[in-house]
């Protein structure tokens, strides 16, 4: 609870900072606030607390909340540069902080209404942020598209919640679990489960509910895209797994087949579409859809190790994404182009930035000794353990397709340019972010046990 209080207060202070023209000290204040929230969250480990039966801060919630806060911390360091040039930096930061509140609620809910509230708090802020670049038509389109389709998906979610309430008479997760765990269910329950599946799959950008993702990711400002690809995805999958493992694990036989096909579709649509992209931003958007497919495999296998596999994968994927998007942000600012061709020859001009990007690309592709490899390994391991060997073989084929487009970026960077390139100036905050993320990616790749033992 302390986490929520700190984040909300921080958000309100940020809003009020506009009135008092308190901009210079705002950024350090937010970082300190996030660090404080992280500390309070970690103190709640092995100390589960239930609030009014609505929110349950068990270890699962603590772990995912801390991951979200770490990612948000890195994100603020990356995004500070962009928003300082906007006049309304306070509004944007406040929106992010409020959406973080929604994310924390989404990973710690114990009641379906809280799930809905969490998703809405998270999403509405991000709808506004996606459209925040008022001068860009693409940004406006992305915000509008996300809002429209997101609201539609939330409609499905609400419908599902209603049907589940109709069957079990309660919104509480434990009560639902007791009702649905056993034997024959009325068709209404299954319909409710499937509608919930649709709503949550939209948020997690699983095919065939992923069509909004490439356009929205590409149109939104790069920093907002980073937030969407990291925090929103982590929270969405944490909520997805929390709901389905708590309530519907008993009738898994009914809905796993659906997710199986969605996973296959997501993996191949995401990876194959990314191959043809010339714009790095759109490629990363499609690859984000593909990664959602991998994470969904862990939900499918629903084993004891699924939760830690999802945690490890979303955390390491977010860290590598932050690296990739930060460098994309820097390069696109410098060259006014988000294409992969803008990266040509970068290894000569900015060797360390190229190294960071190479590590990020290797991690996203899943090559040892980076963290991304272990992420995929854990996911494949839980799947084989639960008997989904064929799925793993197909996922491997998809991963190989992924190698192709991630390596295109690496190749471009180490390509010889025709003329001498000017080294790109990288700000101090971005440098710190890149150093932290690269070190984390390699360290977590060699010692995954550092974060695996906790869940």
């Amino acid at each position: 609870m302390n986490t929520l209080i700190i984040l909300s207060v921080l958000g309100v202070i940020t809003l009020f900072a506009e009135i008092f023209r308190f901009r210079k000290g705002l950024f350090p204040l937010i970082l300190i606030g996030l660090a404080a929230a992280f500390t309070f969250t970690v103190m709640d480990y092995n100390n589960p607390q239930v609030y009014f039966g609505m929110m349950n801060f068990d270890n699962y919630a603590v772990i995912f909340s801390s991951a979200i806060l770490v990612i948000a911390f890195l994100w603020f360091m990356m995004a500070q540069n962009y928003f300082l040039q906007e006049t309304s930096v306070t509004d944007h930061f406040a929106l992010i902080l409020f959406s973080l509140v929604g994310a924390v609620v989404m990973v710690s809910f114990n009641n379906l209404t809280m799930l809905f509230l969490g998703i809405e708090i998270l999403s509405v802020s991000v709808y506004a942020l996606a459209a925040s670049d008022k001068s860009s038509v693409m940004s406006n389109e992305s915000g509008f598209k996300y809002f429209l389709m997101g609201s539609f998906a939330t409609g499905f979610l609400l419908f599902g919640i209603t049907l589940i309430y109709g069957v079990t008479g309660s919104f509480d997760l434990t009560t639902i679990h007791q009702h649905i765990a056993t034997g024959d269910q009325p068709g209404l329950a299954l319909a409710g489960v499937l509608l919930l599946l649709v709503g949550l799959s939209f948020k997690s950008s699983l095919a065939p509910f992923h069509f909004w993702a490439p356009d929205v990711y590409e149109g939104a400002p790069t920093t907002v895209t980073t937030y969407m690809a990291t925090v929103v995805k982590t929270a969405a999958f944490a909520a997805f797994f929390r709901l389905f493992s708590t309530c519907f694990a008993g009738i898994a036989g009914q809905w796993t087949q659906v997710i199986w096909w969605m996973v296959i579709l997501t993996l191949f649509v995401g990876n194959i579409s990314a191959v043809r992209q010339k714009s790095l931003k759109r490629m990363l958007a499609y690859s984000s859809v593909a990664h959602a497919g991998y994470i969904a495999i862990a939900i499918l296998s629903m084993s004891a190790t699924s939760a830690s596999a999802i945690f490890y994968y979303t955390l390491t994927y977010s860290i590598s994404s932050i690296t990739a998007f930060t460098i994309l942000f820097i390069v696109s600012r410098h060259k006014n182009s988000k294409d992969i061709s803008a990266f040509e020859g970068m290894s000569k001009a900015n060797p360390l930035v190229s190294f960071a990007m190479t590590v990020a690309m290797l991690s996203l592709a899943g090559i040892p000794p980076t963290a991304g490899f272990f992420g995929k390994y854990f996911i494949f391991f839980t799947a084989i353990h639960s008997g989904y060997t064929l799925l793993v073989l197909l996922a491997i084929v998809a991963a190989l397709i992924g190698v192709y487009y991630y390596f295109r970026v690496i190749i471009a960077m180490y390509f010889k340019p025709e003329q001498q390139l000017v080294p790109i100036k990288v700000g101090i905050l971005h440098r710190i972010v890149l150093i932290i993320t690269t070190i984390l990616t390699i360290m977590l790749g060699i010692f995954p046990d550092l974060i695996m033992g906790w869940l």
């Binding site: 000794p369 084989i384 491997i396």
Partner: protein, 481 residues
């Protein structure tokens, strides 16, 4: 302890080479790789003749997944490590002064050496997989940054092709891990027991998964299509690393990992695998005969020779296995020597085309002599290193099945044909406009070629120096089935 020392030394050398001042970069890389070679020679000399693993070190790495950092050497591994550490200083020394980004080049070569040594000494299945994969990254960058014109497309094809095999091997390893008894573990003995406990059908499926990984690496027909392009486009050092050492990882994987783990799968499918290998021997040999580009010719000859080694392994008798061990050593040494000779020719004349070359013997007799010795080693003339290996292999295959043995024996003739043809095309006859000003080899080039020639003769005359080290381990492997 010594095993880990080898790995740490190589890693440290690779890391430091990245930051050395360019003036000393060459000397540091060469000196450090020479020191590592000296250390491994010491390990070889003091190696006891025993079937057991020596110098075993075991640290828990990722406890929750049953992964340990367990390394150790037995008779076969120590020979492989010796080969790796012998060839790497030669390869490093062969880097020309004109190569761009020398520090990165040396560092990548040393990293690759570390990864390959790691693969040869791993006693934990997951660790083996990690080293296997890590070896891919340096060679990818070596091919990408210092390769020929079409290298971008070809090296990416090579990378994805090899990765495909590796990922199937990973699935097989995970499956075996989940079948290890009690507390799951990736320990080599635990994996052996798990594999043996499976029924024949599952063993067969896993056999082919492993075959995919190792067959792509070696390569075995029909998984070889990446190899000629990659060998031709890569820089000489990249090709020497690939053909000299990296493909031995695939052969080693067969002996160490696939066969002891899946005995039923092996006995049911070894015949088909051997047919593929023998087809590759003849097929690649015939294509080698038609090549005009010397580097491409050597690439196909490599497929042919490795096909024979693989066939000997699939024959699964003492001659076949011992033959494969000694032939791994000879092939590594021969092929590195041959590729270096081609590199010398290309750097002097600007071409590798047999049609344009000729008469180099008249201008550079020393080079011609050395080329002749190494080439005859590849042809398997008695008293050269190719002979003990090829003799043992063919007798092993013949023991398994006489017709296959006879067909495999054709390699003696086919190999001689294309090798002698390449010698004739480049060295004999009249000089051409390209070779008129051919200068004989320098002292630096002699430093690389003479140790190779010495080893060609030494292994040819006393192969037992090496065979007796690996024999106990091979006998243990044979009896364990």
């Amino acid at each position: 302890m010594p095993t880990i020392t080898l790995l740490i030394l190589t890693f440290a050398a690779a890391f430091i080479a990245l930051f050395m001042p360019i003036r000393y970069g060459n000397r540091f890389a060469f000196a450090s790789s020479l020191a590592i070679f000296a250390y491994s020679v010491y390990l070889f000399i003091t190696f006891p003749i025993s079937p057991d693993y020596q110098n075993v070190v075991n640290y828990p790495w990722i406890e929750s997944l049953g992964i340990h950092f367990k390394v150790g050497m037995d008779g076969i591994s120590v020979l492989m490590v010796m080969l790796t550490t012998f060839l790497t200083p030669l390869i490093i020394f062969s880097v020309r002064k004109s190569e761009p980004r020398p520090r990165a080049f040396y560092s990548l070569l040393l990293f690759m050496e570390m990864a390959m040594i790691g693969a040869f000494v791993s006693m934990d299945g997951f660790l083996f997989y990690i080293f296997w994969e890590i070896a891919l990254i340096p060679i990818y960058f070596i091919c990408l940054l210092w390769g020929g014109k079409d290298r971008v497309r070809i090296t990416l094809k090579f990378f994805i092709y090899t990765l495909t095999g590796s990922l199937f091997m990973l699935v097989a390893l995970i499956y075996l891990y989940l079948h290890t008894a009690g507390q799951h573990s990736f320990d080599i003995q635990a994996l052996y027991a798990a594999g043996k406990s499976l029924d024949a059908q599952h063993q067969c499926i896993l056999f082919w998964f492993f075959f995919l990984a190792f067959g792509i690496k070696m390569p075995i027909f029909p998984l070889h299509t990446w190899q000629p392009d990659t060998y031709t486009e890569a820089s000489t050092q990249g090709t020497m690393m690939l053909s000299g050492i990296m493909l031995k990882m695939g052969i080693y994987g067969l002996i160490r990992w696939m066969i002891p783990m899946l005995p039923l799968g092996f006995s049911q499918n070894s015949q088909y695998a051997m047919w593929l290998a023998v087809i590759g021997v003849i097929y690649a040999g015939i294509i080698a005969f038609t090549q005009k580009d010397m580097k491409r010719l050597l690439a196909y000859s490599s497929i042919s020779h490795v096909g024979l080694i693989a066939a000997g392994i699939f024959a699964f008798n003492a001659q076949g296995l011992q033959g494969s061990v000694i032939q791994m050593l000879s092939h590594g040494i021969n092929v590195v020597g041959l590729f270096f000779v081609v590199d010398i020719i290309q750097s002097r004349t600007g071409t590798r085309d047999l049609g344009s070359l000729g008469g180099i013997r008249l201008k550079a007799p020393f080079l011609a002599t050395i080329f002749a010795i190494i080439m005859l080693g590849a042809v398997a003339l008695p008293l050269t290193d190719g002979f003990p290996g090829e003799f043992l292999l063919i007798s092993g295959i013949f023991k398994f099945d006489s017709i296959t043995g006879a067909i495999a024996g054709l390699t003696i003739i086919i190999g001689a044909v294309y090798m002698l043809r390449s010698y004739q095309g480049s060295m004999l006859g009249e000089t051409s406009v390209w070779t008129d000003n051919f200068t004989d080899i320098t002292l630096a080039e002699k430093t690389i070629l003479i140790p190779i020639v010495i080893m060609v003769i030494v292994i040819g005359v006393c192969p037992n120096l090496f065979l007796r080290v690996s024999e106990p381990a091979i006998m243990k492997l044979l009896s364990g089935m």
